[in-house]
Structure formats: C-alpha cells, structure tokens
C-alpha cells in the first residue's frame, strides 16, 4: 500500500534523524509528535494548578511556606520554567495556562482591533517585566500568598482583556513579561521550531503555517516558517505544525545561542540590529538576573540601609526605586557604554556607541541565563519536595480528611552545599556561552581586528561572571522588610 506524501515525509525525517545525518527532530520521534501537537493535555492541568494556587492564595493560610500560591508560584514554577528552557525550549509558553481563558474569551468576543503600531515592539513587555521584579521586592510577594494570588488574577485578566480586544497574539508577542523572558532565554535552548525541508516550503502556495488551515490557526506571532530564524517570538504552540498540510514542521536540535550572533532578517522579527527593543530586552534580562539574585543575599540590606540613610527615608519603595535605577539603568549604561566605546575603535566603520552596545548586548544573554538558572535552580533544588506536605495539608484542610496522608514536613530538597557547585557550573557555562557569542559578533563587526573588538567585551563578561559568582557565594538571606 502506498503511503500518503505526508507520512512518507515524516517517515523519511524520522529515518534520517535516527541515522544521525540530520539533527534530532522531536516531532519525528514516534509517539511524541501526537503528544506535543495536542496542547490541551498540558494547558488543562496547568490551568487547574493555577486556579488552585489562586484559591489557596486567597483562602489558605497566609504563611508563604504553607501556601501553594507562594510555594509553587515562586519556587517550583520558576525553576521548572528555566529548566524547560535549558533542556528543550519555550516549554512554558507551549503549555501556557493563560491561553485557555484567552481562547474562551475570543469565542465570546472576537477581537476586531489591530494592536497599535507604537506598541508592537517589546517595550510594554519589558516595562511589565521590570514592574513585576520591582513589585516582587517592594511588596514581598514571595512572602504574600494573597499578593501572589492577586498577581495571577491580574495576569489572567490582562491576557483576556488584551487578546479579546486585539487581533493576533499581541499579549504573547508584546505584553507578556514571562513571554519576553522566555523569548530572550530560549535563544539558549537546544531546540527550535523549523521547516524541515525548504524545498517543500518553496513549492507551497497555501502558507498555512502563517495563514492557518481549516483545522488549525496559523502562527499568531507572524512567524512565517520558511523565513523564521531563531526562537524569538516563538511560543512553541505548534499551530504551524498543526496547520501545515505537508507535515514539514519539526522541533529540531540546534546549537544553543548561535542565533544571538546572527543578524539576518527573520520573519516576524526582522534584523536584530534594527531592533533596539531586542537589545533592551537582552540588557534587562542580563542585568535583571543579577539584580534579582542580589535581592536574596545579605549585602543588599547593607546597601539598602545606606541608600535609605543617604535619602533620609524609611520608604522601602523609594529605596528600591534608587536600587533598580542604579542596577538596571545606570550600571548597564555605564558598563555597556564604556565597553562599546573601546570596542568600536577596532571596527572599520565607526558606528555610534549605542549601536555597538546594542549589537553586543545580545552576547551577554547566555551569562544572564546562567544567573537565572543558578538562582531559580537553587530554589527549585533546595525546595524540590516541599510541595508534597503543603499539598497534603491543603487537601486535608479542604476535605477534612487526609486523603493524601499526613503532611510529611521532613520533605525538603538538596542541601545548599550540594546545590552550590551546580550554581557555579551554570554561571560558568553561561559565561563560556557569552564569550563564544561575543567572539562571533566581534568577528562579524570587525573582521580585520576581531580580537581588539572582542577584548573589552571579554573583560566585561569576566567582570559580570565574578560579580555573579560573588553573589552566589554569599549566604542567602531571604528577608523582607528591612527599614526601621
């Protein structure tokens, strides 16, 4: 019996993947394809967990370690998110629970408006990302179950509001702060959604991956698959794979981080060099990682006291504002500005310092990802099993019977001593990745004097690595209110 063309193609890709003359394609792995294409089995449970977090956040004990909202919300979900990015790709967006109420809202109210052109970049998402980092510290959200629940409710409301009003996927592409984090970090992911065979795309006239088909919508973030390059703006939703009548879409292994040094025009994204908002995202992603980790160690309290004393205030918000401005604005501007000014001397064409800084800022993303991994990995690994007794307690409280057994409060995780080498490994890998990407950018920008162009960025990377190692070597002091 003759197989259908699509089956032959899948079979061929699977065979070629197996014979290692092509990179591994997850959508060609028997059984995995149908699992990944059916997204609801991931979204449904995550939506259920989100609802449990919200309800427990409001109605459960207002003690962070005893409440699922703060525990799962700040410890497990963030840790699993970065692990997913490290081992696969944008797995959180793939299973995003916010999409179910969003799709429901769109059934009730079809969006008619176009997302304003002025808001189409990453600026809104970056501002919200910084805003969440700020509010997290200011209101001690990590210690506030109801505050965390309100944040989740606000998130759901914003998703529904934006995507019920505006066509496409403006929330994912431009608004979602988690999404922007994932887009930046997924540059380091080992897999990418790609067209398997460019010849198939060349002969395709339907362009279903973008336009959609009768059975599935097309890419809502406007990534036309044959011209897609990298993971930026890709939510791994696989709408393209479902829509493609040729089964020509794969999730293919690739060199993590390579896209950061490229500057080719990509569908739906354009050239990195023409996107200052992407450079801003890379900068906030990198320096935000250091800032967020700094907030967990004891020296931050000394710094905050000094700022408060200098300002003559006991307002935590005001002090945090100064700290954020210093570490997310002043420090990057100074460091990137000076480094770019030195680096551009080696370049044949003297571009503005800002443009050079923007080009090279993408090279710091691997180090930033290493810091996020080290930080969130620490919380995940040291608190790995703590959700077990809290869940047991929540169920017992809810049903009046210990359906899951008595809470096992001795369930913890790895010791901090065991986790520290892992943290250092993540930082080192990140720094090595940054050096590699920066070297590639230097070779492209200064083909005649790449070493001279690279050297200042190499020094900056080593300095930032040293700062990160120092931060991670500090004793964690998870504290809240600090001003008296």
């Amino acid at each position: 019996m003759n197989a259908a063309p699509s089956e032959r193609l899948t079979s061929r890709v699977a065979q070629s993947s197996a014979s290692s003359d092509r990179p591994l394609d997850l959508l060609a792995v028997p059984g995995l394809r149908s699992l990944l294409l059916r997204r609801r089995w991931m979204q449904g449970p995550l939506l259920f967990i989100s609802i449990v977090l919200v309800v427990h956040g409001f109605a459960g004990p207002q003690l962070a370690p005893k409440n699922l909202a703060t525990l799962v919300g700040w410890v497990h979900s963030r840790g699993l998110l970065v692990v997913g990015l490290l081992v696969m790709g944008n797995a959180f967006c793939m299973a995003c629970p916010f999409m179910l109420p969003r799709d429901l809202a769109r059934r009730l109210h079809a969006p008619k408006l176009a997302w304003p052109r002025a808001l189409r970049g990453k600026h809104v998402g970056i501002a919200l990302f910084v805003g969440v980092l700020f509010v997290y510290e200011w209101l001690d959200l990590w210690a506030s179950p109801s505050g965390t629940a309100w944040l989740l409710v606000g998130y759901f409301a914003l998703v529904v509001l934006v995507d019920a009003l505006f066509k496409g996927a403006p929330f994912c592409k431009s608004v979602c702060p988690i999404g922007q984090f994932n887009f930046a970090a997924s540059a380091l992911s080992p897999f990418e959604v790609v067209a398997r065979d460019s010849d198939v795309c060349a002969s395709c006239s339907g362009h279903e991956c973008l336009r959609g088909s009768e059975s599935s919508r097309g890419c809502e973030t406007n990534l036309f698959l044959p011209e897609k390059a990298g993971n930026m703006d890709c939510t791994f939703c696989l709408d393209c794979a479902r829509a493609c009548p040729h089964e020509n879409v794969g999730i293919v292994a690739r060199l993590p981080g390579a896209e950061l040094s490229e500057d080719r025009s990509a569908a739906g994204v354009g050239r990195r060099s023409a996107r200052p908002d992407l450079a801003l995202l890379a900068t906030v992603f990198t320096f935000g990682a250091l800032l967020n980790a700094f907030g967990m160690v004891s020296p931050v309290y000394v710094v905050q006291q000094q700022i408060a004393s200098w300002m003559g205030t006991t307002s935590e918000g005001a002090v945090l504002l100064v700290l954020f401005a210093s570490l997310l604005v002043v420090e990057p501007v100074l460091l990137l500005g000076v480094t770019a000014a030195i680096s551009r001397r080696a370049m044949p064409r003297r571009e503005p310092v800002v443009a050079v800084a923007a080009r090279f800022s993408h090279g710091l993303v691997p180090l930033g990802f290493g810091v996020w991994l080290a930080h969130y990995g620490f919380h995940l690994l040291t608190g790995l099993w703590t959700f077990v007794p809290v869940t047991q307690k929540a169920v017992a409280d809810a049903f009046g019977v210990a359906l899951l057994g008595a809470p096992q409060w001795d369930r913890g995780g790895l010791t901090t001593r065991a986790v520290q080498p892992i943290e250092m490994g993540m930082l080192l890998l990140g720094a090595i990745g940054s050096l590699g990407v920066l070297w590639a950018i230097a070779k492209r920008q200064a083909p005649e004097r790449p070493r001279a162009a690279f050297a200042p960025w190499g020094v900056l990377t080593v300095l930032l690595l040293a700062a990160a190692v120092w931060l991670m070597a500090q004793p964690m002091e998870m504290r809240g209110t600090f001003l008296q």
């Binding site: 309800v55 004990p61 207002q62 370690p65 599935s216 703590t386 002091e477 998870m478 809240g480």
Partner: protein
C-alpha cells in the same frame, strides 16, 4: 530581646460550540466555585486560648544559623505563669521552599519552656508555637523571628 506576640491569624486552537471541549469550558466556572468552597474551608476559627500571652527570647539574640537556645514564657491574663503545658515549635522561613525544623520544649520552671531551635539559613523566620495547656485548651501562635544572621 523579649517580644509580646499578639494572637496569630489563621495559621492553619479555537473549537466549535457544542464540542466536548465546549462543554468543558462551561464546566470550569462550576469547578472553580467548588474548589474555592473546599479550600476556603481550611481557614479555621480561633484557638479559644483565653488570652494567654506568649513572650520569647533567643540566646544568642538575634539568633544565627545553627541551633539557638529558645525560651518561651506563657502568662495568663491575670499575670500568672501558665504551667504544665506541652509545647512544640515549628520553625519556618518567610520564603517558601525551605524545609521546616521542629523542637519540643521542656518546662524548666513553671510557665517557662525551653529548647533548641535550629535555623538552617539566614533571613526572616517565624515560629509556629503549639501548646496544649494543662486543662486541655490548645494555643497556637505565630512568633516572628526577623533577621536570623548568616554565619
């Protein structure tokens, strides 16, 4: 430092309409309300402790990472020591994700209960104190321990 601690709060792809997925959509609000009702059942009432006050101190003060000697005094509204209680404490970090530690306290003089509490990390902690008084009444308190020092 000795703190008078007030009573704690509670400690304790678009589918078509009519499809199975569409029915699942409509079931969600019901599920959410049911879940809220269930989980809100856990926020129980007061302890009925008759206004027993708890004061405590550590040695060293402030405590640092490792074991710290803990001393708790229970005093009735009339200012009398509450003797003969069985007291246990559970130490937790304010930040979620850290394993709690536990300690049973022993009464060295009437109304004073002592024991060692272990702090595994620097930062803000709180103790959940559970006491069963001699007359069977139960007391629960949340005792804040801010700023445990790293070694």
């Amino acid at each position: 430092m000795t703190s008078v601690v007030p009573a704690a709060g509670n400690t304790g792809g678009v589918r078509r309409a009519g499809s199975p997925a569409g029915r699942a959509w409509r079931a969600w609000p019901v599920a959410v309300i049911a879940l809220a009702a269930l989980l809100s059942a856990c926020s129980g009432g007061g302890t009925g402790d008759g206004g027993v006050a708890a004061t405590f101190r550590f040695d060293p003060q402030p405590p640092s990472v490792g074991k710290a000697h803990f001393e708790l005094r229970l005093v009735s509204p009339q200012g009398e020591a509450v003797a003969g209680a069985t007291v246990a404490v559970e130490a937790n970090m304010n930040h979620a994700g850290m394993q709690p530690t536990f300690a049973d306290l022993s009464e060295d003089v009437p109304g004073r209960y002592v024991g060692d509490v272990e702090f595994t990390m620097g930062g803000d902690w709180f103790l959940l104190m559970n006491a069963t008084l001699a007359d069977g009444r139960k007391i629960e308190r949340k005792l804040d321990v801010p700023g445990v020092r790293s070694k």
